[in-house]
Symmetry: C2
Subunit: 312 residues, 2 copies
């Protein structure tokens, strides 16, 4: 069974086919967070600190760290800022990190200071990125998130995205990187823009798992971009993706709906022994009795649900 193993100085996180869903906290990312970008540029890391502590407390198993504060000369600003942010986060929490940048020099600077075995986020199917980032991944012997787009952008055809993923896995093999160290992001498009976005991702996740034997991840909240009641849509997208076999997501653990979805999915997928995680997160004895649904098939023979439940 495929396992992508991450380490911090003291902790291990495994993204795997037979593991609870791996929650990668997305919050430490100034992209689209103007206030955070301004703070980080000014050397104020109070929000980064708060986000690091809050996400781990909420159940994140890995923290994504991005320092893309500006589009203006990121090659100069991002490497030292990403390294500094990683060192700070490592001093605050003990979970493994995901080093997130589209600037190769920033990934290198991050890898130089990251402890343990971090995840690199990300490489794409673009030639220049493959040949710049894969050697870095090999040099540090770390796993990498691979996004299934290439020079032509993101294809609306899931078969093309699968082909890009396959190319990345094969190219990685040429560099001596095994498939278990590639976590494919099949790319989640907004359901409001592309009606088949959800069905596409579910089909891709199944193919990536069964045919390429790789772990998968995604920027989950993209699915609900532009539609109302995003929290509920995101939560069901996560549990449905987990049911299909997606093994991790870059998500917001501070959204209770999302974490409820992950806890429910872990329990329903059989990764929550004795429902202990569910019970810990839902300490409300009153709620246990809620609803008579459990009894509605009670007439249906000795093996009925009620009887099974009482046999606990």
């Amino acid at each position: 069974m495929t396992e992508t193993v991450l380490h911090s100085a003291t902790k291990t996180a495994i993204i795997g086919f037979n593991q609870p869903f791996c929650v990668i906290g997305e919050r430490i990312n100034p992209t689209g967070r103007k206030k955070l970008a301004a703070e980080m540029m000014a050397g104020d890391f109070s929000t980064v600190t708060a986000d690091a502590l809050a996400q781990v407390a909420a159940g994140a198993l890995v923290l994504d760290v991005n320092a893309g504060v500006t589009a203006v000369d990121p090659n100069l600003t991002e490497p030292p800022l990403l390294a500094k942010t990683i060192e700070l986060v490592q001093s605050l929490v003990d979970v493994p990190l995901s080093i997130d940048s589209s600037v190769p020099a920033a990934l290198a600077a991050g890898l130089a200071v990251a402890k343990g075995r971090p995840l690199v986020n990300s490489v794409t199917g673009e030639e220049d990125r493959l040949e710049t980032i894969l050697p870095l991944v090999k040099k540090y012997n770390v796993p990498v998130v691979a996004i299934s787009n290439d020079e032509t952008g993101i294809s609306y055809d899931p078969d093309v995205r699968f082909a890009v993923a396959k190319k990345i896995v094969e190219r990685a093999a040429d560099h001596g990187i095994k498939a278990a160290d590639i976590v494919i992001d099949p790319l989640v498009m907004p359901i409001g823009a592309l009606n088949s976005a959800g069905a596409q991702v579910f089909r891709l996740v199944r193919r990536l798992r069964e045919e390429l034997k790789v772990n998968t991840t995604c920027g989950a909240s993209n699915i609900s971009f532009g539609i109302p009641n995003r929290r509920v849509m995101n939560a069901h997208f996560l549990s449905m993706a987990a049911a299909i076999g997606m093994t991790s997501a870059i998500m917001n653990p501070l959204h209770k709906e999302d974490m409820d979805a992950i806890r429910a999915a872990n329990t329903l997928n059989g990764f929550d022994p004795d429902c202990m995680a569910w019970l810990r997160a839902n300490r409300d004895p009153a709620a246990a009795g809620e609803g008579a649904g459990g009894r509605r098939r009670g007439r249906r023979g000795a093996g009925d649900a009620g009887a099974v439940a009482r046999s606990e």
Copy 2:
């Protein structure tokens, strides 16, 4: 693609592989509802009336009707009461019905008065039930819910439950009933009693769909019997089952969490053109802007989610 077609006097409901999830309203069922049982025995159908109207208003596509008011001589009391209840419900709403009884004489009485093409709920793998109910199903040319237990009760082994389902489908064929008219209930056990209950059902649903080509249903709320926060667990069980390929459920459409799950699953599975059903159910323009998640991958090339969303 498998389709189980139901009719009322004026409406059609299809349970199918390429159809939105079929919500079968479970409320009109005195089993485990003492107050409702007492009302129905006393000839008071006010709750039945309210439940019929409310469930259809909430989005139920089919209504299950059960008149199991007492374990005392059900063969005498249930047939006339079920027929009366069905005639009342048919006078109130126009959706197809599911005639629900473990008493063959009650199913016969219900079929005699039901308009259109109702669903019969249910037969099991028990010999006496197979040979009593399948001829009735054939006589009226109606589809039937088949529960995968037999004389030995409900097996904890999903392969045994699959074998029972297969036996029922084969026996039905002997009676001239086609597989598309059999809706298998793989039986949902409480996750609190059996940790593998969810994984078992997901695996069974996939096998029933791929190997027997049959539609599936279940008493969804059984999954959360005895654990806290049942509404959230039930909702994710429903959306995850729909992601795996379950095509209907006998559920409570008055639980908003459950209907949110079904609407999200229909949208994510590609059965909600232009997200119209989702938008109708979530008329809150403010919510559309909620969260910056949709932008977090915004730096990733021309095809990024934000751009796709803006291209609407």
